[in-house]
Symmetry: C2
Amino acid sequence: MTIRVGIMGYGNLGRGVECALKQNPDMELTAVFTRRDPGSVKILTEGVNVYPAKDAKDLADQVDVLILCGGSATDLPEQTPEYAKYFNVVDSFDTHAKIPEHFAAVDKAAREAGNTAVISAGWDPGMFSLNRLYGSAVLPDGKDYTFWGRGVSQGHSDAIRRIAGVKDARQYTIPVESALEAIRSGETPELTTRQKHTRECFVVAGEGADKAAIEKEIVTMPNYFADYDTTVHFISQEEMERDHRSLPHGGFVIRSGKTGWDLEHNHVIEYSLKLDSNPEFTSSVIVACARAAYRMKQEGMTGCKTILDLPPAYLSSKSGEELRKELL
Amino acid sequence: MTIRVGIMGYGNLGRGVECALKQNPDMELTAVFTRRDPGSVKILTEGVNVYPAKDAKDLADQVDVLILCGGSATDLPEQTPEYAKYFNVVDSFDTHAKIPEHFAAVDKAAREAGNTAVISAGWDPGMFSLNRLYGSAVLPDGKDYTFWGRGVSQGHSDAIRRIAGVKDARQYTIPVESALEAIRSGETPELTTRQKHTRECFVVAGEGADKAAIEKEIVTMPNYFADYDTTVHFISQEEMERDHRSLPHGGFVIRSGKTGWDLEHNHVIEYSLKLDSNPEFTSSVIVACARAAYRMKQEGMTGCKTILDLPPAYLSSKSGEELRKELL
């Protein structure tokens, strides 16, 4: 039986989910929901309708899993608990500090309705969390490090765009190679923010803008840039379009730990991602989690889950038998 | 409540399990079982007894999980189904081709007894299998590659030791760096055995042995060496003791895959291990799986499982709440 999937919200992430569904023959897109005028939203899949978000629950019997593609700041804290009343849901809620609160709200709604919800699917939180978990479970005497990049941080890019005189901006987060190398060699240094990442900014200044003032405002911006070594490059709008259109990202989770009666042996576990498209990779993880949500619901495992709770085999389209034979 | 663990078989792996238990305060070693004379087996943990293997089932009420540390060739195919009748068990069965058969035998015994069994815990099968699974579930249009090394292959070392005139030998499996680099850059080449790994052998020849004949016998040995580029170094027994006593190992699982409506974006996921002690790392994975086996039994999830079936959170000593707060 094909798993019927709905998408709520059709931005970069919604489009990524649509593309990922095309790659998974055991799943199909059945509906897209939007808060915009449905007539104004052009999707890629032929024969699938776009509906107003407010009508979603009327289609509950046609959707096995609803994927929520809104933002973590204001959309998901409302949407996920609300739609968990009517659907099995998956979201990519990524405000780490607010996960416990979000989990509680979604868990309550999903349990009451007998639905399965998976929150915080993606790569961080998501695949990186899994690797932090496995690393610490296998090597309890150890330390883990997460590095992000090289990749575009949309929050930091937006922060630059809000500065007076800035027309456009793109910010790259870059891990410090020497820190990575030290950890790979088995060292377990305490690293400051500045020692882990640098930030590189590409900025299009408006006509007659004071570039020195813009640069100073960027590098001294609290929280976003002040604690980092930040470099600023002014470029033309043409260069921005030509060289900085895509949304690459990635990063590293490294666990270094010791074993042996006297902790005499060292081990390094490294997981890394090199992604051409951050939203499409995130969507691909979400879609695999939607498969797991569907299966858990079938087996009566309801309530809110995260990727840490999902039996790995449930993410795959293959049977347990195939997995044991082919890839165990 | 502390999880009470028994060890069946006290070689490199059994000793590794003993060391790993010391690192996990929620677990404790309660008994070691051996087929040797128990009086001849000295273990590291004070206050724990060594019993004859044949008496194990009499202690079933004192052991929550029995870890089977025998070999895959002849011990585990008999021991795991047998002891699954009396205990929750974990083994590290690693003959990939025979996993389906072993799974079926263990599943039958564990189900009938209402016990939980985890087979094939370790790193390959084990952590590498998990990464092959997650990689293929997230990037279905892709290809994965597993490389082993640099590390000691005990089977290959043994094969060399059986050659006439050889006193001692140690064989290292080494991944071909240029193949790794090509895959990391997003290529998905078809690689022959020879293009993936080389083999390096350190050999102590006996007094007056024909070194040229030994070298020829090694490099032309079918299955073990003939399909590889193999180098042979003759060294003294002193050099063997000094430079080749430890059992390092490791390797890489790399998934390269595409996303996007027209598969226009590429992604590379890489998981790697660099291990000072192969048996101790394997033991550390086994012990985390023993924790999961105990929990699954508590929840009535009985029968045979592999690491692909274990909810990741069950491997950790932390609660779901702590995991969501601290590392999700």
